[in-house]
Subunit: 147 residues, 2 copies
DNA sequence: GCTGAAAGAGACGGCTC
DNA sequence: GAGCCGTCTCTTTCAGC
């Protein structure tokens, strides 16, 4: 994992459809060498997968909310329970008063309410506190070049 | 945007490297027809870009935190200011006591502290409240199939 | 939306440093 | 171990239908 690898990752984050020849040129390598490095990055799990970035609004999911989930018990093994709710995009155990923070996308606030209802159905959940996003400034990939 | 389009988006989210022939087969279309639909999805901006999903820990960014940023003024035009901090992965205007919620990734908590310092340097920022994630259950793409 | 042919990209081997 | 350069295969792309 050297600087060239980091550059390759950054380039692929911007556009994963570009040819290895172009990638190689950008980092000063041949197409084959660039290909080899990217293959190893995938193999090592640094690049988890190649995916597409989708506009949530276009899928009719214009409402974004962050929900603090309070619990009366240790939630460390409850990941699967949260995963069964498809509207939940992320779930994290957090340090602080609430115990789990989830990121939720729905079409309407009525559907958001329904997600909250399903959250309460999870064992140990004792409360929720939803914060609705009014506008998203940006959402971007992790920057590999901060170091 | 019909059911086939939604299926195509879901398939591409799982693996954007697969061939159009395979995509077409999965949804009952020829390779050419599948390609045409995906092209239009990109053209319409429903698919924003093709990117790679990177393991943040592998990039040495093992610390994840959500920071509520309180402000003494309207922050509606401050998106660019937040964008200049590369450790900030997302920034949203929220309804609630704080006015902006940001998602931050750093290598260490010391660097997280430095991000907070840079947040305070933004015009109008009057306070921050950071919540550190202890464990991430999951982070996944928006589900196109919830409707 | 399908089919067929041309152009291009990716995968794999051997080879060198 | 990393990079380079062949070749072969598969995919993409664009035409006409």
């Amino acid at each position: 994992m050297d600087d060239i690898d980091r550059e390759l990752v950054a380039l692929l984050q911007q556009d994963a459809t570009q040819a290895y020849a172009a990638l190689g040129k950008a980092v000063g390598l041949s197409a084959g060498a660039a290909h080899e490095r990217v293959r190893k990055l995938r193999e090592r799990g640094i690049i988890r997968r190649t995916t597409v970035d989708v506009d949530p609004a276009a899928l009719g999911q214009g409402v974004l909310a962050f929900v603090m989930v309070e619990s009366s018990a240790w939630m460390g093994e409850s990941g699967a329970a949260f995963a069964t709710i498809p509207e939940i995009q992320e779930a994290h155990i957090i340090a602080g008063s609430a115990s789990v923070l989830v990121k939720v996308r729905t079409a309407t606030t009525v559907q958001l309410q329904d997600v909250l209802r399903r959250l309460y159905a999870i064992d140990g959940v004792s409360g929720t506190q939803a914060t609705v996003s009014l506008e998203t400034f940006f959402e971007r990939p992790v920057s590999p070049l901060v170091n």
